[in-house]
């Protein structure tokens, strides 16, 4: 168990390092950042001065190590677009809003999808299963930006039940959470259903019934613990993407999270902020997957004893 976790953690660090190289290279691939920072009428002397000031005349690897050293201290430089604020400070400032919305969406969708997926497998080919299929089909077929707009149109514009956009009380979270979570519910539910179907057909489930184990326990203990691996893997993927903020949803609902920040930073060619965002997102992804890996080991002894 310990060995497994140590190996996984080292792998995560390696991944983070690779991400830092990509984030660094990215800003150099699109041309010199100096061009973006200077006014149009600036002369070559001005450009040379700024290049020297920012250390852009140094060899690339040296620039990378400077970048890495600073990044490790949480220093990605100052924002270009938002004057007077540090890039990392901006990301940290926006992160709580994203985690709030994402966390809400993911908790609600898990609470809905897991039991529905399990029951859809148990009651396969019944009206309950068909209804679940329909919900899943809708969730997977509707693009979330479109769903967001439709939800605003119905519940905010026409019915005036909920606010159209922005961050505020609980009521502000409902529409974006639905727009964000429906797809997850769909995918989660289908994965849980198919994993459960496979497990319920297995010999050890038959043996549990032969032992006299009540059906409820057979389903929720014996079967679910085995079936949980597939949805858990997917959970790692969506947890990462949800906690880094859905760029689309945050834009549609003007939700002031990191997703919206990323879009604004890209539009303004604000490289320090983009780099800070990319590295933070990568960090969140990696931590989410590390947690999932730990949960794997908890669920499956075959992983624990590797």
């Amino acid at each position: 168990m310990k060995r497994y976790l140590v190996i996984r953690s080292l792998q995560s660090l390696l991944a983070l390092l690779a991400i830092s190289v990509i984030a660094f290279a990215m800003s150099h691939l699109t041309g010199s950042p100096v061009d973006a920072m200077l006014p149009d009428d600036a002369g070559p002397e001005e450009a040379a001065r700024l290049t020297k000031l920012w250390g852009l005349d140094l060899p690339l690897y040296e620039q990378y190590f400077v970048f890495l050293g600073n990044a490790l201290q949480g220093n990605f430089g100052d924002s270009i677009k938002w004057q007077g604020q540090t890039a990392f400070g901006l990301v940290l400032e926006r992160l709580p809003a994203t985690i709030q919305l994402g966390g809400f969406a993911i908790i609600v969708s898990t609470i809905i999808a897991l039991p529905v997926g399990v029951l859809a497998a148990v009651y396969k080919d019944t009206p309950f299963d068909s209804a679940g299929k329909l919900v899943a089909l809708l969730g997977q077929a509707m693009p979330n930006f479109w769903l967001g707009i439709v939800l605003i149109w119905i519940f905010a514009v026409h019915l005036h039940w909920l606010p159209t956009s922005g961050r505020g009380g609980f009521s502000h979270m409902i529409l974006p959470a639905i727009a964000m979570g429906w797809f997850q519910v769909a995918a989660f539910m289908r994965l849980t259903r198919s994993a459960m179907l496979e497990v319920l057909d297995s010999e050890y489930i038959k043996l549990a019934r032969i032992k006299g184990v009540p059906e409820r326990r057979v389903i929720w203990v014996h079967a679910l613990k085995n079936a949980a691996i597939a949805p858990l893997t997917y959970f790692g993927v969506i947890a990462g993407s949800i906690f880094t903020g859905s760029v689309v949803i945050e834009t549609v609902f003007a939700w002031p999270g990191t997703g919206l920040l990323a879009i604004d930073a890209i539009r303004g060619r604000d490289f320090p902020v983009i780099q800070a965002v990319v590295v933070t997102f990568a960090g969140v992804f990696i931590v989410a997957n590390l947690i999932v890996d730990t949960l794997y080991a908890y669920l499956d002894p075959r992983i624990r004893y590797q």
Binding site: S202, E203, Y204, K206, L207, A208, R209, I210, K211, G212, V213, P214, H222, K225, N226, L299, D300, P301, R302, Y305
Partner: protein, 339 residues
């Protein structure tokens, strides 16, 4: 009325189990009867798809839902009809009074729970005792099936054990609550030959110690000869021959049984080509009207095509209770042949 002591441990009467398949409703078990006395072993023999496993699951009322269901018959456990019990009452029968060992030990233990958890759970389902006592009983159950060092093995997980060892654990789960009937569905098919012999001996030993009745499902006549007192031969959902193991081996009455016995390769004989029965078993959705073995039978008559050999025609051919579904038994010139 027979006294309780004379009553069979388990008696199945006229059992019919249907399965709703894409190709229509089939009778996977079609009017099957057999019984097993206390301390006795009944072998159910037949090829795959003959309905023997479904018959076994029907006894525990665990046929795959919702496609399969028991349409009629009686399953009498010490005189009580299990088919009339509620699901809750059935749960107290499963694992407590009737247990079952499945074919493949590699898949019949839950990979995510420890051995101890699985044995303790089986015992705890039917005993109200503190956990500590249950763990002790689980260790004892593992010791009874000759698992070495059971105190330590309880913390192991299935993937840390060999196939033979896992099948012993399955045995401990099945026998943990001292059932009176054990159904063993090809328990040694997936094991190595040497492990197989050990396991069969173990079952025999436990039977002698506890007076357990065993229903042994197999397609291996060698195993039948070693283990069983009585045999039921199944073909296409029906028991076509039924009787004491000696009678079946020495004077098989049904052409199918004869053919099966001929298919067993003899060690001392040197043959170029193994005997095989011509043709295929009939499809369940396209059953012959008469005898189900008729299309493959060497001694089939006109009558066999149109009429199933009725129960009346089950003539006793040898000493006590040896029956077969075959019209040939009614023919005066028919002489039981030795195979």
């Amino acid at each position: 009325m027979r006294s309780p002591s004379e009553r069979p441990a388990l008696e199945v009467r006229d059992l019919e189990t249907r399965i709703d398949t894409k190709l229509g409703l089939i009778k996977a078990v079609d009017g099957v009867s057999f019984s097993v006395e206390h301390g006795e072993t009944l072998g159910i023999v037949g090829e795959s798809g003959s309905g023997k496993s479904i018959a076994a699951l029907s006894i525990l009322r665990l046929v795959p839902k919702p496609s399969a269901y028991i349409a009629r018959g009686q399953v009498l456990l010490d005189g009580e009809d299990l088919l009339e019990k509620s699901e809750n009452e059935m749960r107290k029968v499963r694992g407590k009074r009737i247990s079952m060992i499945l074919q493949d030990p590699q898949t019949s233990l839950n990979p995510v729970f420890s051995i101890g958890f699985q044995v303790v759970e089986a015992i705890g389902m039917h005993a109200d005792a503190p956990r500590k006592t249950l763990v002790q009983r689980a260790v004892e159950a593992l010791r009874r099936v000759r698992v070495a060092d059971p105190e330590r093995r309880v913390d192991d997980f299935p993937h840390q054990m060999s196939g033979g060892m896992k099948q012993r654990v399955v045995g401990a789960i099945a026998l943990g609550s001292f059932p009176s009937v054990l159904i063993a569905d090809e328990p040694t098919t997936a094991l190595d030959v040497t492990i197989q012999a050990q396991y069969l001996r173990l079952l025999k030993d436990i039977q002698q110690e506890t007076g357990l009745s065993i229903i042994f499902i197999t397609h291996d006549f060698g195993v039948v000869a070693r283990m069983c007192d009585k045999v039921a031969v199944m073909y296409a959902g029906r028991v076509v021959e039924y009787g004491p193991v000696r009678a079946i081996f020495n004077s098989p009455a049904h052409p199918y049984t004869k053919a099966l016995l001929n298919s067993v390769p003899a060690v001392e004989e040197d043959v170029d080509r193994l005997y095989s029965i011509k043709g295929q078993p009939p499809a369940f959705w396209d059953m012959p009207k008469g005898c189900r073995f008729e299309p493959r039978c060497d001694v089939a008559m006109e009558r066999c095509k149109t009429e199933y050999p009725a129960k009346l025609a089950k003539a006793a051919t040898a000493s006590g209770g040896h029956y077969a579904d075959c019209w040939a038994l009614e023919e005066p010139e028919w002489i039981p042949s030795r195979s």
